[in-house]
Each structure stands twice: as C-alpha cells, then as structure tokens.
C-alpha cells in the first residue's frame, strides 16, 4: 500500500527534476525554465506546452486538416474554387457575429441574444431602407448602431443591475425576436433591393486577379514587417526576441496559406475572384485582434475575465468594460445579420433564428476560446467557423441530410468543449491555470 502511494510522488519528483536539468541554466535558479536558443528550444517549449495542456489552436488546426483530407478523399470537388469561395462567403456573416461572442467569452460570460439581435439589425435596415426610403448607407449604419444600443442595454442590466448575463441575454433572445417579427409586419419578409449595399455584401467579388494576390501579398508583407520591427525594437531594448529563423518560418507558413487561398479564389474555372464578404470578415478579425491583444481595453477585458475583483482593485472600471463588450457583441451581431440578409435575399421574420446562435457560439468555442473566461483568441472565430462550415459544405457535397449535419456539428462542439475542459484540468495540474 505504501509503495502504491509512493510511486506517483516519486514520478512527479523526477519529472520536475528532469526538465530543468535539460536547460542550460548556469547562474540562475536551477528550477527556472530557460528556453534554449534556436529551433531546438522552440520545439522543447512547444512539447512542454502541449504536455502542460496549453493546446491553443493546435486541436482545431489538426481538425481542419483532417476534415479537409477526409472530404477531399470522398469528393474531389471539396477543395475546388466554388466550394472554397462558398465557404468564405457563408462564413463571413456568422463569423463576424462569432467575433463578438469571443469578446463575451473572454469576459467569462455568454450572449444568447446574438441571433435575435442579428434579426433585429436586418429588420431595422430593411424597414428603414425599403419601407421608409432612407439612404442605403444611413440605414446600414442605423442597423449597426441599433445592435450596439441593444448590446449596451444587455451590458447595463448585467453590470449595473447584477442580473446574470445568461438570463439577461436569454430574455433578449426572446424579446428581440419579438421586436423583429413586429418590425417585419404582415408580409414577414422584405427583399433586398438590387444594387444596394447589403446585396453587395455577399454578392460582390473583386474579379481582378490582382485583388486576391495583392491582399495576400500585403498581409504577408505587413506580418513580416511588424515581426521584424518588433524583434529589432526588443533587441534594442535588451529583451529576448524572436530569432530570425522563427520569423521566416512563420511568415513562410502564412505566405503559403494566403497564396493558396488566393490561387483558389482566382485561378480555377468558375472562380470569381476575391469576395467582398471575406475582405470585410478579415478586416473585422484583424481589427478585433489588434484591440484585444495590443490595447488597454483588450488587456482590461482579459483582466476582468481572469479575476474581476483584482481588476476592480487595479482601478479598472469593470462595469464599463462589461457594458462595452456586450455593446461590441450586439454591434457585430447586427452587422453579421446584414450579411445573412444579403445571403438569403432579404430580411425575414425568422432571420437569425434556428441554429444561428448555436453555430456562432460553437465556432468561438471550437476555435479554442475558453468558456471559462480570460483565455482565447479572436482568430478562433475564423478557425471554428471554418471547421463548422467545412463540415456542412462537405456533407452537402455528399448529399447528406441536414439532421446528420446537426448531429456531426453537435459532436464536434462537444469534442471542442471536452478538449477545453480537459486542457484546463491539465493546466491546473501542471500549475498553469
């Protein structure tokens, strides 16, 4: 019995001893983790992170590759131009909504109202521009502002009144879809006027091949430039910086990805070029990612999501952060609703209903943003959306019925949440959460 009890202890002790001894730590505390220089160091660091449960985007990237290979093997149309362009166009609207959800999840909260808010946004736009003859842009902006106000109202009830976000947004989910149905009136649907801004959202393609390639080139150039500049500034300040080899590798991977996508959008037969919807989705992603990672507001969101009391004591206006995050979620939901309206040819009573809400939340979680708050990336909205949309697209190509699609998407979501929970537990036991 005593032997049984002893073994795991001994094991953990040797594991702790073994790791630092591999690190060339001379003058510093031998228990410190010092990263070796160069690639070997990154590889061991990577392995250590994976063992410690810091999986990041790894499961979803592996999942995406597996999904692509399986469907491509089943049906060689999967990785074709039209199919990829479809995925890009279909993901953008719900993807933008999912970016809003990532903000909310980073706070450790949930927003169940995004589907209804998307519906209200689309309804407001349609009623204003078609029934009341408002200008195209004005009605689009009004719809987005409407979403922002709705989100702020949720945020005020949550932050100031102290009602759980779950309940506030559940009430919103019901209430706003009621407002949507009321706005849509008797007919229950308003078609998108041809030639309008909203129609262009998902139907406009930049047919010029230079557009897709140019965007890919600009993205790679900007990424490499910012990485190199950052490395130089860090070196100048005497801080450890990324080695050139790693920057080159990262840039290379990004370049391959960008140009493959651009190639498929441009070159094959039937390719229509770069979809406007994809450009807008990417713009929202880049902007949101910048806000989350590089600004004080983003830092405050993480702090509130990690430890709200500590954030409050650090002088952060927790209520303001919470209200702003819910306002962002509402705003992006309304904006995404316009994309959905554009895709389905107009605003309807049921727009944003059905499984929209579930897909939006599932995408953020599948992409690797934690449900427990304080951990996640904006890009998980894109990754998760790609997984869900690829599965749907692939199953469509297979001619699979929608009930099977639901079941498979549900299983993928469950798998993602299981990975999140398990990796969180592993992180706890590895002392990293």
């Amino acid at each position: 019995m005593s032997d049984l009890a002893k073994t795991p202890l001994d094991k953990s002790a040797t594991a702790v001893d073994a790791e630092p001894s591999a690190a060339p730590a001379a003058a510093v505390d031998p228990r410190l983790l010092v990263r070796e220089q160069g690639f070997a160091g990154y590889w061991t660091e990577f392995l250590r992170k994976v063992r410690g449960g810091e999986l990041g985007s790894l499961p979803v990237v592996v999942g995406l590759i597996v999904i692509a290979l399986v469907f491509q093997f089943q049906n060689d149309k999967f990785l074709s131009a039209s199919s990829l362009a479809n995925i890009a166009v279909f993901t953008s609207g719900v993807g933008i909504m999912s970016v809003g959800i990532v903000f909310v999840l980073l706070l450790g909260e949930i927003d169940l109202s995004v589907g209804s808010v998307a519906g209200v946004g689309a309804a407001v736009w349609a009623v204003l521009s078609v029934n009341h003859g408002w200008g195209d842009w004005l009605s689009v902006v009004s719809a987005v502002v409407c979403g922002l106000v709705i989100g702020a109202v949720h945020g005020i009830f949550f932050a100031k009144v102290g009602v759980p976000a779950f309940v506030v947004t559940l009430a919103g989910f019901l209430g706003w879809s009621g407002l949507q149905i009321w706005l849509m009136g008797k007919e229950g649907s308003i078609n998108t006027p041809s030639g309008s801004v909203v129609e262009d959202l998902t139907t406009h393609f930049f047919a010029d091949k230079a557009a897709a390639y140019g965007l890919a080139f600009a993205a790679v150039l900007l990424y490499a430039g910012s990485q190199l500049l950052d490395a130089r500034r860090r070196k100048g300040a005497g801080l450890p910086s990324r080695p050139l080899s790693e920057i080159l590798l990262r840039t290379g991977v990004l370049a391959v990805l960008c140009f493959v996508v651009a190639y498929f959008l441009n070159e094959p037969d039937g390719a229509r070029g770069l979809p406007l919807a994809l450009v807008l989705f990417l713009a929202v992603l880049v902007l949101a990612d910048f806000v989350v990672r590089r600004t004080t507001f983003g830092r405050q969101v993480f702090a509130v999501g990690g430890n709200a009391e500590a954030a409050r004591r650090a002088g952060i206006n927790v209520d303001r952060v919470r209200i702003t995050v819910f306002a962002i979620s509402g705003m992006l939901a309304a904006f995404g609703g316009l994309f959905i309206a554009s895709l389905s040819g107009g605003a309807t009573k049921s727009l944003g209903g059905g499984n929209t809400l579930m897909i939006v939340i599932a995408a953020a979680v599948i992409g690797g943003t934690s449900l427990f708050g304080g951990r996640g990336k904006i890009w998980s909205a894109l990754l998760g959306m790609l997984v869900i949309q690829s599965i749907q697209q692939g199953l469509n190509l297979e001619g699979m019925a929608s009930e099977i699609q639901y079941m498979i998407t549900g299983a993928v979501l469950l798998a993602a949440v299981v990975i999140d929970s398990v990796s969180r537990r592993t992180q706890k036991s590895a002392g990293r959460a």
Binding site: V28, D29, R31, L32, L33, V34, D230, R233, R234, A237, G238, L239, R294, T295, T296, F297, R299, F302, A303, G305, G306, N307, E309, A310, A311, R313, A314, G315, I316, G373, G374, R375, Q427, G431, R432, A433
Partner: protein, 261 residues
C-alpha cells in the same frame, strides 16, 4: 527619519452599523520605516488598513499626508496620494503574465496602444532591483509558486512608486524560505525609502523587520513600541490586554514543567 510623518492618522473612528470598529485611533508612518500593525482577530487591523487604502472612508478623525490633511474616499484617492496596498489574497489575474499583472491598471501606452517593450523592460528592471527571481516575466501568474506570487504582488504595488506600502499578512501562507525572501524584500523597501505598514500575526516576522509596533485592541490604540527595546511579552500583553493572559499562563506552565525536570 523625517520629522513630519508621511502618513498620520489622528483620532480615526469607523462604525459599521452597531459595531464600532475603530475608536480614536492614531498612527504615524515615516519614510524609510517599517511599522508593524498587530492585534488579535477582530482588533480592527484590516479595517484600519481599508480606511487608509480608501475602501472604507473614515467617519471621524483626520488623515494627514505629509502634514497636510487629506480625504481618502475611494481607492483611487489613496493611489493618487501614493499609498499602495498588497491584499492578503494578492489580487493577481492568473491568466495574465507577470508583466501584464505588474502594470494592470497603469499600463504604459501611446494613445491606447500598449507599449509591451517598455513595460517588459521596466518590469525586468523593477524585479532586478528588488532581487526578485521568477522563471520568466512572460509566463502566466498561474504558473508561479505561492512565494513568487507574493513577491510579484509586492512588486506590483511598487510600479506607481508609492511612498507608503501596506502589506496585509504577506507571510501568512508561505514556507520558511519564501518568508525569508519576503522579509528581505520588506527590508529592501525600507532601504529604498518607502514607508511600510506590515500587518502580521507572526511575532518573529514582526521583530525581524519592523522598527515600531503599533498594537490595536478592540478597535483602539493599545500602545506603540520600539521593537529594539521591547520584549515580545510586552507586545503580547498589549495585544491581549493583560499581563495575565493565555500566552503568559502557557509560558509559565511550560516553564514550571522545565524546572520540574
């Protein structure tokens, strides 16, 4: 030691409903001085600290800052004056890295874009001057040990370069070596000219680093002692309110047992 105390409480009282938590309490802190605040559970130590750090505004009395009367109504007021508080629960964000925690709420930035490089550089300098050793300034606080978290929390209090640092039971949850490290750090704070208020139940810690000991009993002052020329018995007597108390009785009992042997 300067003549005017950097922080002085004059006749401070605080009431919570029917409970008189503090009655007519005086306290003086000079720069470059460690004042230990001791007292039994419920003596009002935490309340006193919270009045200084702005969590509970005082009902009566006055708070003087460098000889000038000030009002501390919110935590923000205390921070602006130069009072930094390290709470017992540390108030760190586990998901953020050490740099982010150090600068939380006072990030270095241009417009509202974070200047990570400047923050990391200053974080390293700060930790170096305090001889704080942690694995990396870029790992999440969750990955640090209890002692490391404690020193990070103290370092965090120093980012705004405060004049007075309040430490609430900094060694309560620490092992022998970590305690020694934190006490070293307290001494370094004194060397750097900070006034330190140290709340502790541990008489050994208090005698090791404090210059003066202020005793609270039932919400009132019960004596201020110079550590150098006061015996622990006197301090314990002040804390418990009598020379005949559980501690002295126990000591007397064990002493007679020793003699009997």
């Amino acid at each position: 030691m300067s003549a005017t105390p950097v922080l002085a409480l004059r006749g401070v009282s605080k009431r919570f409903g029917a409970v008189q938590a503090l009655t007519d309490v005086d306290l003086e802190i000079h720069t470059g001085e460690v004042v230990a605040l001791v007292g039994d559970n419920g003596a009002g130590k935490s309340t006193l600290v919270k009045t200084i750090s702005g969590v509970h505004p005082i009902d009566e009395g006055a708070i003087e800052w460098e000889g000038r009367e000030v009002r501390i109504g919110r935590p923000h007021d205390a921070q602006n004056l130069g009072v930094a508080t390290v709470y017992q629960d540390l108030a760190l964000c586990d998901n953020l890295d050490v740099v982010a925690n150090l600068f939380l709420g006072s990030e270095l930035r241009t417009a509202s874009v974070l200047d990570e490089i400047a923050m990391e550089k200053r974080a390293r300098e700060l930790l170096d001057t305090l001889s704080i050793r942690i694995p990396s300034v870029r790992i999440p606080v969750a990955a640090l040990s209890g002692g490391q978290r404690q020193v990070v929390a103290i370092a965090r209090a120093l980012v705004g370069d405060p004049k007075v640092v309040i430490l609430d039971e900094p060694t309560a949850a620490l092992g022998v070596e970590q305690t020694a490290q934190v006490l070293d750090l307290v001494e370094r704070l004194r060397e750097r000219g900070h006034g330190v208020i140290l709340i502790s139940h541990n008489m050994a810690d208090v005698r090791a680093v404090a210059d003066r000991v202020a005793v609270l009993r039932l919400g009132r002052n019960n004596g201020v002692f110079d550590v150098a020329d006061t015996s622990p018995e006197e301090i314990i007597a002040a804390i418990t309110g009598a020379t005949d108390n559980a501690v002295t009785r126990r000591r007397a009992r064990t002493a007679t047992k020793e003699e009997a042997k």
